[in-house]
């Protein structure tokens, strides 16, 4: 009996330890970056362009660039992802083809991001002649997030009870009317959350954009979709590994990392708040 109880206590501790480990890693992570980069964060750092060979000044163009490229990504991945999920979950019958499509989606989500980067160079930069630009980088990130958006949307659609669909169909609604009025409104919060989390991931990617549109340094902000841009993750990469005086700019690199982290936290938080709000509306 004693032995049994002992094993129980030990396994409980191990399980609890694993769960707490995640929290500990995250806190350590934030502490490390905040302590080394916190000192450079200032209004100037957030609103000025880099100066003197990127040893002084701020990261404003990188923030703008990341924002813009994420917008392009959203424009591609959200509609395409939602429509593909609607097709797969609502219209498509279970055939060999849809099984292959699902398998492809699962596999695509496991493809390393650098491979997406190379693919983007071949397809968007060269074949489609978009050049290294916001457009090419946004499209590449769009492809990268697509499997996540589709999967999240499909999961959200699956939570809508079948009785909502049957009830509408039995009243003479067409399939599309049923989806529009009785399926999408109740899966919307899940879809949007999934899509935004996908975008947060895209905003932090370096490899897919470094060949397709992100620039080392630019004297001005992008004016069109065909322009190159600076981006936070790539700027961080440059500051940490490519700069001529890495040691000197290390605090700036940490500052950039901190801003990028905060940005992603804010996006994620936004997604959770949206979901919470929409869920509350649904329940009322």
């Amino acid at each position: 009996m004693k032995r049994k109880k002992f094993i129980q206590v030990i396994s409980f501790l191990i399980l609890r330890g694993c769960a707490y480990l995640i929290l500990a890693v995250l806190l350590l992570f934030i502490y490390d970056i905040a302590s080394k980069g916190g000192s450079v964060i200032s209004w100037e750092f957030l609103t000025q362009a880099p100066r003197r060979g990127m040893t002084e000044g701020g990261i404003f163009p990188a923030i703008v660039g990341t924002f813009l490229v994420t917008m392009v990504t959203a424009v591609i991945s959200i509609p395409v992802g939602i429509f593909a999920a609607i097709y797969l979950n609502e219209y498509a019958r279970q055939t060999r083809l849809t099984r292959i499509i699902r398998l492809s989606i699962r596999n695509l989500s496991g493809v390393p991001s650098i491979v997406y980067g190379l693919f983007g160079v071949i397809l968007f930069v060269n074949a489609m002649k978009f050049g290294t630009s916001l457009l090419s980088a946004g499209l590449t990130l769009g492809l990268l997030t697509l499997p996540w958006t589709i999967t999240a949307s499909e999961e959200a659609l699956k939570t809508v009870p079948q009785s909502f669909r049957e009830g509408a169909l039995a009243l003479g609604a067409s399939k599309w009317q049923t989806i529009r009025t009785n399926v999408l409104p109740y899966s919307f919060s899940g879809i949007i959350t999934g899509a935004v989390l996908g975008l947060a991931r895209a905003a932090g990617e370096t490899a897919p954009i470094m060949f397709t549109g992100a620039a080392f340094y630019l004297p001005s902000l992008p004016h069109s979709l065909k322009d190159q841009f600076m981006a936070l993750p790539y700027h961080l990469y440059v500051m940490a590994t490519q700069h001529h005086s890495i040691i000197k700019v290390r605090p700036l690199a940490y500052g950039t990392a901190l801003v990028l982290l905060m940005l992603i936290f804010v996006i994620n938080l936004g997604a959770y708040i949206t979901r919470y709000r929409l869920r509350k509306i649904k329940m009322e």
């Binding site: 669909r165 049957e166 009830g167 009243l171």
Partner: protein
């Protein structure tokens, strides 16, 4: 039968994959009467009733054989518009399935998707339908409330009102009282009784007393076969088939 025939089922068989759920069913259903379909669980009652508004179309891997004629028109012919059919043949499901919208919007749903925009007309029909479903007095002051705030029995009457609002000719009830309490059941039964003045009603039930109370005709199904179909009185007092007698006297089921 001396009554006018509304629905004629001819040699209807239904398959889930290769498993037959209905086997060669032939029957005529009278207009403005209540026809009950009874039988043990898994006998194909629900499958049968769902054939009448083609709700089984949505199930993958199923197949229908035979014909169903409503007002002389074969509803499985390729020219038939399923949407039009479902407007003529309304359905109430086993579990109340109100939409997560307001009470008013639930009843107005069928009108709106059919393109009715005139607010006055919608309000009129919503009130009329809720009155027909004997729910108006209970909800008239809270039409804006979410339908989920209603009790189970009220939700089911709301679903009936929702179906009536589209002005169907035939009403299908798939075990409408299986998920609600006896008092609410009594209300719905008397409501169904009222409906036969204007509608042809078909009700699936596993409750034999219910079939005996509300229906004019009763069909007894077992393992996908139509064992006996006759006036309800005859079925419950003097069944001609041994299996029917065993079932209604509770020897199995």
């Amino acid at each position: 039968m001396e009554e006018k025939i509304k629905i004629e089922v001819r040699h209807l068989s239904f398959y889930y994959g290769s498993t037959p759920a209905l086997k060669n069913i032939t029957m005529k259903i009278a207009e403005n009467k209540i026809t009950a379909v009874i039988g043990p669980s898994g006998c194909g009652k629900s499958t049968f009733i769902r054939c009448l508004n083609r709700m089984n179309d949505v199930l993958p891997g199923t197949r229908v054989e035979g014909d169903i004629l409503i007002d002389g028109q074969n509803i499985y012919s390729p020219q038939v518009d399923v949407i039009e059919l479902r407007k003529r043949v309304g359905m109430v499901f086993q579990k109340p399935n109100p939409f997560p919208k307001s009470i008013f919007d639930n009843v107005a749903y069928g009108l709106r998707i059919n393109g009715v925009k005139n607010k006055r007309i919608i309000e009129e029909i919503v009130e009329k339908s809720l009155r027909q479903a004997a729910l108006w007095d209970e909800v008239k002051d809270r039409l804006k409330d979410n339908a989920f705030s209603l009790s189970g029995g009220q939700q089911q009457r709301l679903c009936i009102a929702r179906a009536l609002a589209v002005e169907p000719k035939v009403m299908l009830f798939d075990e409408p009282c299986s998920a609600i309490d006896p008092i609410a059941t009594a209300k719905i039964e008397s409501l169904i009784h009222q409906l036969k003045k204007n509608y042809t009603v078909i009700i699936v039930t596993h409750n034999m007393q219910q079939a005996a109370r509300v229906s004019d005709y009763t069909a007894f199904l077992m393992l996908g076969e139509l064992i006996e179909y006759d006036k309800t009185e005859k079925i419950f007092t003097n069944p001609s088939h041994r299996l029917t007698e065993d079932y209604i006297t509770g020897r199995f089921g």
